[in-house]
Symmetry: C2
């Protein structure tokens, strides 16, 4: 597999083939890849809402500039951050490390302290910004995994997060929507697939030292 070929194959798909659904196997690969996304410290302070229900997506579309990919894609993924992150959440993370690696909590006490200190130095706004950035790592991972799997995707910042939070009842689950990504298969009628990819030349984006 040539990864560069795959990255050139992908594009922000605007029109999806409504009749082509992702197989369970393909969807499971995407979800497992999301679960494996790297995050700072490994904290995973995020969740992914997978919306298949069409009526719900019609509702959401109204708050995403009526973009057709919201309903036409096979599935809609809403990438969410935890609204905040408490010391208790860090302790739960510690429990998971200790259990997974069969360690005593003592063995990771220093690491836990370091994470808590680092969080204590952030005000709520900075913490929120930092939590949102983590979701962008998951986005980068998701888009590349989709390209590898020849699944089409459209990364979207253009939606109303407050409306999405309300419709998907995210606030009450302690979540905030950050990004939206419809996934599925491109329609033959999506003209964008025929346009040359626009990128700066390598010498403009890379500085060698």
């Amino acid at each position: 597999m040539d990864i560069i070929e795959k990255l050139n194959w992908r594009y922000a798909t605007k029109r999806f083939d409504e009749n082509r659904k992702l197989s369970d196997e393909k969807l499971n690969t995407v979800l497992e890849a999301l679960r494996l996304s790297p995050t700072s410290y490994g904290l995973q302070a995020m969740k992914f809402v997978v919306v298949e229900d069409k009526a719900l997506r019609e509702e959401l579309k109204k708050h995403a500039w009526n973009q057709p990919q919201v309903t036409e894609a096979s599935h809609l993924i809403v990438l969410c951050r935890e609204a905040t992150l408490s010391e208790g959440d860090v302790d739960l993370f510690g429990d998971n490390i200790a259990k997974t690696r069969e360690l005593e909590r003592e063995a990771i006490a220093e690491y836990m302290g370091m994470i808590k200190n680092s969080l204590a130095n952030l005000d709520e706004d900075s913490k929120g910004q930092w939590l949102a950035r983590q979701v962008y790592i998951a986005l980068g991972n998701l888009l590349t995994v989709c390209a590898v799997e020849e699944i089409d995707a459209c990364p979207m910042e253009g939606f109303d997060p407050a409306a999405f939070d309300e419709i998907l009842k995210l606030e009450e689950q302690g979540l905030n929507s950050v990004l939206v990504v419809p996934i599925g298969y491109r329609s033959t009628e999506d003209g964008y697939q025929n346009l040359a990819k626009v990128r700066k030349p390598l010498e403009e984006v890379i500085i060698r030292k």
Copy 2:
């Protein structure tokens, strides 16, 4: 290739094999993948500094908690955002679209106006945050591409951006360092490679609707 196997293979590598350098071919794949990173609107308001020079990396290491991967890895990549983004930058982006796709500027005038409006609605701080988030997409892409290529990597937020900016003379190029990623090959002595990956179970991170 099983992408899930690759994602499970990767981990934040702390100790690299100093004697194993990336081949030119491998490095070029990584750099081309960075160039192809998705960004909002396709703006690519970022650059990547690839530091091979050991003396320079010794200098940088002092401002990254003396973490050994900064100097031991084959190459150090510093992911930078543009310090700001002006209407002029958007026009240059428009020039690139028009040239790449052989279009008249008229044909993309609406798209250009939409981007400019959206930027005009951001104050400098929000714009900076948004530009930084874009770099996290590139990070997610980079880490997954490295995994696919069996290149080891260590995503790092733990460094002093102001010191990196000064040492690498980034300010005068209108850049701010956001993230640091040493890449290369894991040392057999890095104990972290033997630890089980810690992740929440799928049912905790995925919500189906």
